[in-house]
Symmetry: C2
Subunit: 706 residues, 2 copies
């Protein structure tokens, strides 16, 4: 932060957050391709903090890092903070290549030589509303990290690592003062281990990445129609017959909980009932509403199998099952799903119909409410607070439950007005391949919220949801990261932090740093592209062309992949070109910004850069068309490559019109608009993310008065 | 294999192995950079089998693969072969993108529609000399895979997957007949989890990769001066105090053993005693030869701490400890290390000296022999056969022990002549960053072996050894793969299979395929290079330049990294440029071949290609020099980049001499030879792998008579 900031030797120059953002905004307006021609500037030295802390003041001075960098606190080996410091030191050494002298695994006792001092008052509890704040003071000779709880230490160390900077003399931390605490206490990531089983290491590496952006809750979706994923000792047929052998042992669950605890992350299990429950009934059909036998579901959607709420044995089953799971998962909250219940089997079962009459339950909603009340009693006996999706809401529930909204903020508002706590997931469905921007601007408490201050306190936060219909261990990281870091910032940073361009600038840097934690969101793409070549490896220029196509192609959004002509199941391959593409093309975003700058500035050197892109993409189109003809698995990208060719040609035509100062005729314009509509259609389950920029260029050509 | 092979409709045309190799040799003589300008040929369709099966006959016909490809055997879900077929189907779908119809996780009962039929007689046992043979018959409409044991099915499925080919009509298996069995029964990979702890997933993904090249033994090095890596319930201070918290729980060990068993891989533990044992004594100093306290060793080398063989309590300790471990690890063999015992603490301990006198033990070797005999008794009581390094050899040991030779084939010969079984590891030390060629040509029974046929049977095979002083979870895969695939071929394929060029041709393809198993040997390099940029990400052309430098730089060989000015410890960063480099530069090898072809052919179009390389590398040198100046962690590569600049300049000078038909003067030659000696010196702990090719070029210029 040394650039453009006046130094003041007589104390902290108070560079407030606003000016930081403005400065970053300036930087972010220089698109990356343009930056290639810009000479080295101090811009490289601006640290990318994400989530942005509540208060950052940098002095312009530098704390230099060398081999003698020692960390110390009044702590004991094996404590959570001690281990966090050890991880910090390992990562610091890893990023800088510095051979740190301290044996930080064995001893962090402060000594005269200690440079990083950490101090906390007590061990934080892994519950909502626990104190996660910290205070970081960096002077040229000493760093102090202080926090009420060790959770604050864990959070602060991530910030300190993000501050790591370099100049020609070496590595340093910019000096300054930071005070930070989260805006929301419930900052979660839902991982669905059911639609596709995700091996333990996937969960573990994502926990590390979550900690890097200060998320504090893993919502673990553990049962579904497609699989029951936890070893049950009381009802072993659940995992034995309901998982194809793909489940977590209880020891593995404990490993995850232990790692999460080390990182200051809660682990809340979800067992989705009474619907979404086919896999339970493969081993235990007697608790279903229709007679079996049942098979593990391979398709995706909402299915008929549902627990029988009229059978007293069902509740005895859950009594025992939740007793077992309540002991396994220490979190005070327990998620019972409750969403999307299909009532077909209830209607078809005369005993259930009789039961409804007898208990004056007029409809299926009332029947589910009855079921939930019974489940609530069981959970309460086992000292768990209930969490569920929107559908669980009903009058008369205790006030300590939490409603998770997949439906929207209005549901949260309604709940809060009734005094219920809520968390937002609508708008954070990262499986739908939407932009980081869209998630980023989605606020659990939007600026125009009608809630009172007291009611707002009931909105605990939000959760990104990684539903796993279309991901495997290979691709799931790229669906989670880096976009979830933007959601993490929304949930941690002050509400005013909403600068989208600056978010993207930082996101690119954070995205690369996240791979340090083992997540594979970036590095798996080239590997997966290479695999498409099979036994005839691509030539380097072919590989580059395919990668260039992948960089501007996005999987179709929302649930559209299910209507592209192929029936996806949990056994279908997720290794095709579309699976190699990132949910959001950052290059397309850069390009859109570049077109914007050109349109606003009308400078010809900008047009040349835009033209360069089109020339590049025509080449990419030609090469990938050729690949499509030669590799069977790539046949499907032929039409996508042809679309890119047409789109690039159109872009060039528009630029030539502009260059010549000519206006196109109405017929030409009409035909090109139609063409653009054509080019928007999905090909190979992808869309070309640069279409909107070309559309904007065409619109400008049409409207331009010059 | 359809190219250049005459079809014969009236039966199998018998294309014997020799002709296969000759054909592949022809292909391998076309260097890859030259191939870029070669038009599409059938070459792309030649499957890369590795290890090469004992007998392969291809008919030129094709078995076409589509959605209706069903697999079936008389088998039950959950059996080892059933699971192997399920994995095969998943990988087949993954490589081809084909939506297979069969629910192969639930049912593989043969039906009329079944295309792949598998059949085995019995469950194979995980012991040496078990039958792993298989027979694969591929006809246009049906595939039969037959084997005496399910191990053969597992091996055969890997071969079938390697046969997968593609043409313009889609994917197919080439039809033919294969009969295959291993040459050696002991085909191992040693993984050292001690010098650096390797998380469970590292071990698991490497097991999958091992299975892909038909290795059948994981030799798991679990205790060392630097760490004790297994949970012990009888002596919990072993892992509690001896591991910094980095150890495998017994549940995790069981997971590894279960996965290995599914893959037909044995897991043999090594607990290295009486030396290499510092970490044991942190918790149990009473069994050491010198009083404590002990600390976990951070450095590398051979250290003084050693068990006290004169203390009866030592043997009581091992009795209990091995009882626990013998139950945990089902393999009949148990490795006790026994290498590199330092006797300093024995000499310094008067009780030990008195003990030696009393028992007529004249020297330390005799003392260790005494110790080993006691240990052998314990192992025998627990029904384990002893394995150890060369040093355990002593007269009078039972004939069922196995000696693992790190010293060389002569030691094996000596052992065999005494009737002892042996395995070779000398020459398979993959941690030393030698070439695949060197390992490949290293034969446990070389053609000139003086052993009788009966004695040869005592040579059970060999093991690649992945010692972990200089690797982490991020880099270990790139030190194991792909070179270990070459060792796997040496141990599996017939002794006559020794064509180095053909091995490399296949190795490149197999290397890419291995990543399907999760190993990260290729994909981690770009990630690690990116990380060197820290918060100022490289521009794309900078990243490419750095990668190009990494592609021709190799870490210094042998143990030379320890004498380059930095003291490595288990806490030192292994994230620098040298760690990003592969042990062997395949590009440098291609280049050497290219130079060879030019020198032999004297064709000018070849010279132009060589010149192109030098031009490229001068550019790479200029760009990476600039990076070295701007990124602190890259400072050290400045001299390496400068060396590349000088080397490329020299290469260009030589080519110009040749082009002009001029001979250089003696003084020039002398100075350039001196320069080459300079350029061979390590920089940034790396060497430029293209120096020998330039040296060859210079040598040819000097000797050429034209």
């Amino acid at each position: 932060m040394s650039v453009g900031i006046e130094k003041n030797k007589s104390g902290w120059p108070r560079i407030v957050l606003a000016s930081l953002i403005l400065f970053n905004l300036y930087l972010s307006l220089v698109p990356s391709i343009a930056a290639r021609t810009v000479k080295e500037t101090g811009a490289a030295a601006v640290p990318a903090l994400m989530p942005l802390p509540a208060r950052v003041e940098l002095s312009g001075e530098k704390f230099r890092i060398d081999e003698k960098f020692y960390a110390g606190g009044k702590d004991r080996p094996g404590s959570r903070a001690f281990k966090a410091v050890a991880r910090f030191m390992t990562r610091l050494a890893g990023r800088t290549g510095i051979f740190l002298e301290q044996d930080f695994l064995a001893d962090q006792t402060p000594a005269a030589s200690t440079r990083l001092h950490y101090q906390y008052e007590r061990t934080g509890r892994l519950i909502p509303n626990e104190d996660e704040s910290y205070r970081l003071e960096i002077k040229p000779g000493r760093i102090d990290l202080q926090a009420p709880t060790d959770l604050g230490i864990i959070r602060g160390l991530e910030t300190l690592l993000q501050l790591l900077s370099a100049d020609s003399q070496g590595y340093y931390f910019p000096c300054g003062f930071l005070q930070d605490q989260p805006r929301f206490t419930w900052r979660g990531l839902l991982i669905d281990s059911c639609r596709h089983f995700l091996p333990l290491e996937v969960v573990k590496r994502n926990l590390l990445a979550m900690a890097a952006v200060k998320l504090n809750l893993l919502h673990w979706h553990l049962s579904e129609d497609q699989g029951f994923r936890v070893e049950s000792r009381t009802f072993p047929r659940l995992h034995q017959l309901g998982s194809d052998g793909f489940y977590y042992t209880q020891e593995q669950i404990k490993e995850v909980i232990e790692l999460a605890s080390d990182l200051g992350i809660r682990v809340m299990p979800e067992f989705d009932i009474p619907g979404h429950s086919t896999s339970w009934f493969v081993g235990y059909p007697e608790y279903a509403s229709a007679p079996g036998p049942y098979r593990i579901e391979r398709g995706f959607g909402v299915f008929h199998p549902v627990f029988n709420p009229a059978n007293p044995a069902t509740y005895r089953f859950f009594e025992k099952f939740f007793q077992e799971m309540a002991a396994l998962f220490p979190d005070p909250y327990f998620h019972i799903g409750g969403d999307e219940v299909e009532a077909v089997h209830w209607k078809d079962n005369p005993e259930i119909q009789a039961f409804m009459k007898k208990h004056h339950l007029p409809d299926n909603h009332a029947l589910q409410a009855y079921f939930n009340k019974e489940i609530l009693k069981i959970l309460t006996r086992h000292k768990k607070k209930m969490v569920g999706w929107d559908e669980i809401y009903q009058p008369g529930l205790p006030r300590d439950i939490v409603i998770q909204s997949w439906r929207g903020t209005q549901a949260l508002v309604d709940g809060a007005r009734q005094g219920y706590q809520g968390i937002l997931s609508n708008g954070y469905y990262i499986d739908l391949c939407e932009s980081a921007e869209r998630h980023y601007l989605n606020d659990p408490i939007p600026p125009d919220s009608p809630l009172s201050e007291a009611e707002k306190k009931l909105i605990l936060g939000g959760e990104a949801t990684m539903w796993a219909e279309l991901v495997t261990a290979e691709t799931v990281d790229s669906r989670i990261w880096p976009r979830t870091a933007a959601i993490a910032e929304r949930l941690w940073s002050p509400a005013e932090v909403r600068d989208v361009n600056d978010m993207y600038r930082r996101l690119k840097i954070i995205s690369q740093q996240l791979e340090e934690n083992g997540v594979q969101h970036l590095k798996n793409q080239p590997m997966m592209l290479r695999r498409l070549a099979g036994t005839a490896p691509f030539r380097p220029e072919e590989e580059r062309a395919l990668q260039a196509l992948a960089e501007i192609a996005e999987p179709v959004k929302g649930y559209a992949r299910h209507s592209q002509g192929r029936r996806y199941t949990s056994l279908a391959p997720l290794t095709r070109f579309v699976d190699c593409c990132f949910p959001e093309s950052l290059e397309a975003r850069d390009f859109r910004n570049l077109v914007e700058v050109f349109v606003q500035s009308r400078k010809w050197d900008r047009a040349a850069v835009v033209m360069d892109y089109f020339i590049k993409w025509r080449g990419v189109a030609a090469q990938t068309k050729a690949l499509a003809g030669r590799y069977p698995v790539l046949n499907e990208i032929g039409p996508l490559a042809r679309n890119l060719e047409e789109l690039s040609t159109l872009g060039q035509e528009i630029l030539i019109f502009i260059q010549k100062g000519e206006k196109p005729g109405a017929e030409w314009l009409e035909s090109r608009k139609k063409l653009l509509e054509e080019l928007k259609k999905p090909r190979a389950e992808c869309q070309l993310a640069i279409v909107p920029a070309v559309e904007a260029l065409l619109g400008w050509l049409e409207q331009d008065k010059n």
